[in-house]
Symmetry: C2
Amino acid sequence: MKSFLNTSSDGKVMIDRVFKAAVAAKEDEIKSGDIVVNATLGTLFDEDQNFVAFKSVWNAFKDIEDTQKAKYASSIQGNIEYRESIYRWLFSSIDEKMKAEIIATPGGAGAISSTLKNMLDPGEIAIKPSLGWGPYKTMAAEFGIKLLDYNMFKDNYFDIESFKEVTNKVMKEQGKVLVIINDPCHNPTGYTLTSNEWDQIIEHANILSASGPFIIINDIAYIDFNMKGNDWKKHFKKFNHLAENVMAIIAFSTSKTLTAYGARAGAQIVITKNEERLNDFKNAAIYSARSIWSTVSNGAMSLFAKVESDEKIYSKYIEEKQYYVNLLKERSEIFLKESKENSLDIYPYKEGFFITIKVEDNVYKETVYNRLMENHIYTVMVDGGLRVALCSVPKRKLMGLAKKIKDCM
Amino acid sequence: MKSFLNTSSDGKVMIDRVFKAAVAAKEDEIKSGDIVVNATLGTLFDEDQNFVAFKSVWNAFKDIEDTQKAKYASSIQGNIEYRESIYRWLFSSIDEKMKAEIIATPGGAGAISSTLKNMLDPGEIAIKPSLGWGPYKTMAAEFGIKLLDYNMFKDNYFDIESFKEVTNKVMKEQGKVLVIINDPCHNPTGYTLTSNEWDQIIEHANILSASGPFIIINDIAYIDFNMKGNDWKKHFKKFNHLAENVMAIIAFSTSKTLTAYGARAGAQIVITKNEERLNDFKNAAIYSARSIWSTVSNGAMSLFAKVESDEKIYSKYIEEKQYYVNLLKERSEIFLKESKENSLDIYPYKEGFFITIKVEDNVYKETVYNRLMENHIYTVMVDGGLRVALCSVPKRKLMGLAKKIKDCM
């Protein structure tokens, strides 16, 4: 007899490592107090270990009318003001018009998930970095999509050779490439690709696309915490020079950008030369939205549009955010310096919320993870290492941390 | 060469009839003014044609802390306070413990969509009412699920014979039944099943489940606008007496309940005898959530929990909502009386947001729809008829409307 659940859903169980580690840390904090270093949480905390909700943003939310929060979004594709604000947020430093379509999604998760679902058939392969955000795997599994990794680093730089090799192989086998690039401020290593590395990626994509569609998902969840600020966004101009058979989908999220994690607003920003294909993607994405989550939060979309379009609020926001970008830099400098001093092997960090300690062997990784917990240090096990969330650990607790970690290895 | 989009997504386009009709009405309102009857909008409007956002609800939202709105939800399954509030909201009038699991979803859409995706394999059949909410079709198509209808009415009552016949047929063919029942306040007819009709449905499900799993999706989007109020919810006790191989998934939404359409909070409430299967469903639903939309809006969940658990706010809410339940009754009485007087054939309305005029022939339906628009009357074309949204048309505009419609037929 059949089960209630269908063949692909029967027995699926999610294992949430971040959540588990966070709970363990919290329990220890109650027991052991301030000695605990909780480096599990992927959201911003200030130096007093208080959760940060940008005042510029959340005061603006108060000024949005109740009716606006209550009403349905004005379209499944997302409110026009929201989409226009996203366009300017990402592209206003570019001196060309970007040929893009924007579709609102619930966070960056919705953007990546919907893209995977609509681009690949079950059984096809998506390509992701060897070090990366855990839910890429869950998402692929949800839609019966297989995964293959490109190796992330070689000699502390992006391993472009592996990227080329794996994409070549997949193009040869399935006549289509979909590859995820989480940049800038890669989760969990904090790496940001150089302009030259991006050029090589795009050049390769343009060439390989002669053999089939080449799709780049550029996950930019942490974009607004890169140290160059809006200047980094000039990078997107490169997407205006993709070959006809290359498509870039930028997965944008207001979660980190606005410290609006719980508000669930993000977007797919699709760029490709051919207008018809751009339109096909948009139609498919809208269809999926209607069928899966319907509209995106109207209040959250209004909030982003308000922060972006109100000059006063925007400049307050930029100032407030810069304080935390600077704070992240200070925190990282402490940890990087001490890592070096203590020969703690970490992946090449440049900026962003996380640093990852290199521990390639899975059994040993779990041993270290447990030893750290015995010493009241809570990290998150990720592929290839242990993630330390700079975003949530104050400087005073980062001082001496590298040595303490090294001592557990 | 392959397309960017996969085989099932290439070429899909959503047609949003409600949106189109609403836009046409708005344009006419600008041109022709108050003569326009806009009966397209499925949200509450008061007698002055202002959108209604319950004060009790949205004032409460102001008192929720910024950090709570900013933070991620405390779990993928949904905040515990939210789930407990939903349990009490639906089941507190029942003198038994309900064996239920609750999983937060973005609105009722998310609840139905996730259930369809996890219960049926692509190619399998879901059963829906012959008259019903349009997106059931979009959702099924999104996941490659086929649809079969049971006939909704016979002699102005629920057509239980058709329900039995179609479910029997599908059980025989695929060894599993999944059927959608939108009750109370059925969209688009405003029908509510009698207690006896529900008994017959459940008795049939219990018997037929000997041949395979029998899954009931009970879409209760409009539950809090039924005229019996919380008393109606005693109905759910019946779900405690399902046979081992029957599962009920209640699709709940705060959209209409709280006039929080844009806030995107709903839930799956799963009920079945076997604890292991209950748990399997929960795990699959959480996995899908993580893979598709991640968490549900933290602010929206907090809002519902606050309205439910704060006695003062709750009693204000009940009072405020009752005013609109009464108003809907008054509006419906005008239209029902005049329909009778003018021999305008409508489906059996009992309560809720919508009345539907019976027009079975599709070509003729479009003719009438267009004629009505020429006369500044805007309805929505639905299967089997034209939907009139009582929720958004003031009494003064409902007076005489039945005759005007009849004159166009």
